[in-house]
Symmetry: C2
Subunit: 254 residues, 2 copies
């Protein structure tokens, strides 16, 4: 399996290292910034390139891991390649790759990647899509190199998954940030909340979130909610978020 990575950010880094560990040949890493290409190429023993004329046209698979709004521009450069071309974005449809390679598709890992932290990809859901059955089967085989959790998902469903992931991951993380800000203001350490954050995430591995909702809003404990709003008087944005999410909890459990 000969793979070329287009992009050198978080997703490219995690996938390239994982594919390399599974014995794949990472032939090239393209990045418009040659330094970034060199960094990831060194990690995955690939050739770094930053000019399209240096692109190897005979890899089995070209994996696009650039920003969503750059995928289209990159796709134009991949019309002549002989392998399959996939992108890895949640919110971008399959069609953007029309005309690329010998087939095109999507390989979307439903996970949050930071460069500083390794992720065990084995249980990460890979949502795949292909322009036709043959392409889909090839992408499925490629995805199975990394994960046991491979699911075919349409472009429309993938957009919903991506949106749901924003709520479950990006927004939750922001709430962790708000709680840390509150603690900092009162000289308390974020460490105190860490076991609670973990347990909250563990709970919904085996129960539906609605079934394990706790806190003042689900008890409709208006005294506590009023006290909390008063404590947030100096931070109107947090106050508004508190009010809106509490109201949403109350409505969802009625």
């Amino acid at each position: 399996m000969k793979i070329v990575f287009i992009g050198s950010g978080n997703v490219a880094t995690h996938l390239a290292i994982a594919f390399k560990a599974m014995g794949a040949d990472i032939a090239q890493v393209w990045s418009k910034d040659s330094r970034n290409a060199e960094l990831l190429a060194a990690l995955s023993k690939a050739e770094p390139i930053s000019k399209w004329e240096h692109l190897d046209l005979h890899a089995d698979c070209y994996i696009i891991c650039v920003k969503d709004d750059a995928i289209q521009d990159v796709a134009v450069q991949l019309s002549e390649v002989n392998g399959i071309v996939v992108h890895t974005a949640g919110a971008v449809s399959l069609e953007v790759l029309h005309g690329c390679g010998s087939g095109h598709g999507v390989l979307y890992p439903l996970q949050t990647f930071s460069k500083s932290k390794s992720v065990d990809l084995k249980s990460v859901p890979f949502c795949i899509e292909g322009d036709r059955q043959e392409t889909l089967e090839t992408i499925s085989a490629i995805a199975h190199l990394l994960s046991a959790n491979v699911t075919e998902v349409s472009s429309e469903q993938r957009k919903i998954l991506h949106l749901a992931a924003v709520f479950a991951c990006n927004f939750s993380n922001h709430l962790y940030h708000i709680s840390n800000e509150l603690l900092k203001q009162h000289h308390l350490t974020f460490d105190l909340l860490k076991p609670l954050i973990l347990e909250t995430a563990f709970k919904v591995q085996s129960a539906l979130p609605l079934e394990v909702q706790t806190g003042p809003a689900v008890r409709n404990d208006s005294n506590t909610m009023e006290e909390h709003l008063a404590l947030l008087a100096d931070t109107p944005e947090m106050q508004l978020i508190y009010q809106m999410l509490s109201n949403s909890i109350i409505r969802s459990t009625q």
Copy 2:
């Protein structure tokens, strides 16, 4: 160590079972509903009571685990007891127990408890407070039976911790619920999001939430955010939550 539990809900259940496992004598479980008292008393080999005249006045510690707004009423009944009286609430000040027992304080486990799921209390932060040094030391010894993570926290700080926990736990769980609703509407399984939810919680065990924020808002990717808002057109409440949290992320990372 002879303990009486006042209340028989989630917190009482988890604490009583854990104290029993550590060799404490759970002498009585009081609940105004005699059936609830009997259930927890059976689990912890205690005497169930539902009348105050049956209360054992000579326990070492009385642990109040009733709803916040019932603590005051219960405290009135504990003025004659000889042991220490503590409550377990995040949002209720120490003073509400004034005049109770031989000393009074707070034993607040910063965790979310559901009856159906056991929790390893060893790493749960217990936030303690006492009316005087001697009481505090006794409460600390009691807390250390269950956890290695015991911290003295004032009533004011405890209220902030409780508020921060609402953001980090209750509100995050509600966002999990919203994401599940979105998936259900489009015939997708919540299982696909579970690894992401766990990883999001794991990440902040070793990094600050602000440092590991991902998603369209932190990238200021307005195309994706507009598409997401369009997908939420039929659910205005979700749309409003999306807008507000995205704006808050953008502001916090500028």
